[in-house]
Amino acid sequence: MDVMNYSELILRQKIFAIVFIILIFILTIEFIRRRLLKERYAILWLVATLVLVPLVLWFDLLAHLARFLGIVYPPNAILLTGLLFIILILFSFSVALSTARKNEGRLLMKIVDQEERLRALEKKLEGPDQARPPDTEEGADSLDPR
């Protein structure tokens, strides 16, 4: 194995980190451009990459941050920052998911209400003395959560 000196290792660290971060940035932009990702869910990713780049490139800044946080090995501050962003992003997903479920529920209520009104209308049209036409879709109008 080649023996590399300390500064070479650090340089490799920086290069690898920068390439990876830039890749994520470009990937995110490209996904938005292709409409696979909505801006509102991409912003945290982009902010994360933008915050990490200076930390990787400028050791002084990193050392400052590490000292402020009481971290002994400065690159760990990069890991911590990345981790905190991941936590934030995951949390935002939880919130987004909750909103989506809530909206699902409201859509369901609307559909149920419309079906009821539709049936009432059909009944009126058929006339009160005639049999109700069979529902076209079984199981779709029960409120049984499946």
Binding site: E39, R40, I43, R106
Partner: protein, 249 residues
């Protein structure tokens, strides 16, 4: 007394393309129970009820109940989607009902129905495809300092991105031509559309012009803008606008 924007057909009317186009007024309404009645009265003084489409964006107050007292057309959203979705659906409604002109008219009472003629005229005269009614000189009476600074900042961004200067880029008082309606009914920004739609319009090759109009200050209720909200707004709008420029349309 009840003057239609383009006139209902009468004997002797020219029914060819030369007849003045009737406008569809798209009115987004979110928690505007205090203002919507005034707004609808104002609109009904210049247009017929079949020209007015109010969209209740899942208001939590009595807005829907007030709307239903009027003979206007309305849509009720099951959950809050935002102005952007209201407009997109409004454009689709316009196409389905053969409107060649759409006017965006806020439900909060800031827009003045009589002023709509100014922006509608720009469309009818084929001067542009999107006519923006700008507040004539933002004053302390109509918006806060933060708003005005933000507005100027966005104007600057738009100049960078599109080369065109719009003095009131966040104004929602707009008229759209048939070309614009057709494009936007299929493709429209999903949030905070005022600024992004300008960039998108230019990308579609539509002409955008501004006209000075007067507006009223916000009547009842408060605007829900926070510091975080403003930052998110700016970031989101700038990001989305840049990406619009990157896409192929």
């Amino acid at each position: 007394m009840h003057r239609n924007k383009g006139g209902t057909p009468e004997a002797g009317d020219d029914m060819t393309d030369n007849a003045p186009k009737k406008a569809l007024f798209i009115v987004p309404a979110y928690n505007e129970c205090a203002n919507i009645a005034q707004v609808l009265d104002d609109l009904l003084s210049v247009a017929g009820p079949e020209q007015i489409l109010v969209v209740n964006d899942a208001s939590e107050d009595a807005t829907l109940a007030v709307i239903r007292r009027y003979p206007v057309k309305y849509i009720d959203f099951p959950f809050n989607l935002g102005v952007a979705s209201v407009l997109k659906i409004g454009f689709q409604h316009a196409l389905k009902n053969n409107f060649a002109l759409a006017v965006q008219f806020d439900g909060d009472g800031q827009h003045v129905a009589a002023e709509a003629a100014k922006i509608a005229e720009a469309i009818r005269a084929d001067i542009c495809d999107v006519a923006i009614g700008s507040r004539a000189g933002l004053s302390e009476h109509t918006s806060s300092l933060a708003r005005r600074v933000g507005s100027k900042f966005i104007s600057g961004i738009l100049v960078l991105l599109t080369g065109q200067y719009i003095s009131d880029p966040t104004s929602g008082f707009r008229a759209y031509s048939l070309a614009a309606i057709q494009k936007f009914a299929r493709d429209f920004p999903d949030e905070y559309p005022e600024v992004e739609s300008i960039v998108l319009a230019k990308k579609f090759g539509l002409r955008v012009k501004e006209t000075s109009v007067t507006m009223r200050p916000r009547q009842a209720g408060s605007s829900s803008i926070t510091i975080f909200g403003s930052i998110y707004y700016l970031v989101k709008v700038i990001l989305a606008s840049c990406i619009i420029l990157l896409r192929k349309y």
